[in-house]
Every structure is written in C-alpha cells, then in structure tokens.
Symmetry: C2
Subunit: 155 residues, 2 copies
C-alpha cells in the first residue's frame, strides 16, 4: 500500500475517516439530547442490535456495538437495571455465556426512539443522494475489510 511521498497525516484517508466519524458521533449525541430521548445513543444502538440478533452472548454483542467486553457488560447492567432487557445464562459451544433479550418495556422504548429518530432524519436536508451513499458504503466497506486483516481487535 503506497503512500504519496508528500502526504501528511491530515491528508490521509485515515484522518478523514476519523474526522467524519467524530462528526457522526457529535451529531448523534446532539440529536439524542435535542429530541429529549430517554436513552443515549449507545443504549439505543445496543437495544436495536439485540432486537435484530435476538439472543446472542455478550462478547458477540460487543463486537457488533463496537465496545470491549467490560464496556458492553456495563451498558447491559444499566439496561437491565432500567428494565429494558433481561439476561439469562445459556451455553454456546459448551461454554457458559450470558444472553439477553428485550423486555416489553425495552421494545416500547426502542420503538418510540426509532420513530422519533426516523422523523428527525427524514426532515434533514438530503446532503447525499441514495447512489452517493451506496458508493460511499461500498468503498468504506472494502476499506474496512482490508483493515480488518491488519489489526487485532481482541474483544
């Protein structure tokens, strides 16, 4: 993988991805506050992921929500305390694991937040066309897959 000789960090694709990710995070958190949602962005992502994947163990969930194992456990503690999920012991490859599922209240909160968020984002000016997004999606996916082979995630 060649880098142009005169490339400074600020001109690399790594920097631009970091920069864009930072904007995404700020926007996300600001939207959650502005809309007065009763959960944070991380909690929303966690609930939404549990809804899709059904009963998965904590480590698999950690990989999906991009947190490490301790961080995932802590988010789940909060969600459990607030009654949005319930946890139970199960096995996976003969190993004892903890899985989880949404409670009724968790479903309700998630649906509500999803609805409010969809409305908000539908009213945002469309700054990228659907086909632009697809191009971005494809190429960032390809980039990430390449990256994946170079970096140890140890989650």
């Amino acid at each position: 993988m060649k880098l142009k000789q005169d490339k400074h960090y600020i001109n690399t694709i790594y920097y631009k991805i970091e920069q864009t990710a930072k904007y995404c995070r700020y926007l996300g958190n600001q939207v959650f506050q502005k809309l007065n949602l009763p959960i944070t962005l991380d909690e929303f992502a966690t609930l939404d992921t549990i809804k899709i994947y059904g009963e998965i163990c904590q480590r698999d969930l950690a990989k999906l929500i991009l947190k490490d194992r301790p961080g995932t456990g802590r988010i789940l503690n909060i969600l459990e305390d607030r009654g949005f999920i319930k946890r139970f012991a199960d096995t996976k490859n003969n190993r004892l694991v903890r899985k989880m599922s949404l409670t009724n209240q968790g479903e309700k909160i998630l649906d509500k937040a999803t609805k409010v968020l969809k409305e908000y984002f539908n009213n945002l000016p469309e700054f990228l066309s659907q086909s632009d997004i697809e191009v971005l999606d494809q190429s960032i996916q390809k980039f990430r897959k390449g990256l994946e082979q170079e970096v140890a995630m140890n989650i």
Copy 2:
C-alpha cells in the same frame, strides 16, 4: 435525507464510518507501539500538523487535530516539556493567542517517525487501489461537508 424504513443502526452509514474509524485508531496505535516509536499517534499528528501549518494558534490547531481546546493544550504541554515544540505569545485579530513551532529536536523526531511509518505502510498489502481510495476520499469528503452543516462543533 431519507432512511430506508427497515434500516437498523448497524446498517447505516454512520455505523460503518464509526466502525472503520475504530479500526483505523486501533491499527494506528498498534503500529506506533509495534514500531517502538517514542511518540504516540496523537503526538505525531500534532507535530506533523504544526509542521505543515507553521505558526497557528491553539484553537485552530485543535480543529485540525480533532481535539477540544483543553485536550490540545495538554498535548502541547507534553510536547513542550519534552522539548519538541516551543510556544510563544502572539496576536490574531488583535487577540492574544499562543502559537508554537517545532524545535530542532521536534523536527528530528517527526522526520524519524515519518520515515519509519512510511516504510511500514509501504510494506502493507495494498487492499485498496489508488483509484478506489480516491473514490472513497471524494465521497467521504462530500458526506462530511453535509454533516458539518448539521452539527455544532464548539471547539
């Protein structure tokens, strides 16, 4: 900006950018450790940016290195303590600001790190062609610019 009705967070472009950024950060930090560089990724980015932009005030630097003002001040404290930069008072629009420049030692460390990093990255398998990178670069740039108008950065 329309979202497909059935899109979960994990399928959005926001998630994929976060995910890719995380890989970038891990790879970066792991490379800096593996190569036994005497500075961190953040310090390198800071030195490299000071080298390009010459004498800028801390707040402008903060925007470039994607840190907030306190964080930028702290990184600069470290770099100053280690003798890689020197700081001095100046004015910008009649306002008192602190600017900085690389010391000889700072230049040396930066050049050394740049050389080692270039060698490392040149030996990585090329997982994206130059034209692929350009496509990614263009579309992520466009996306970020759209985002920029929706999010307050207050740095």
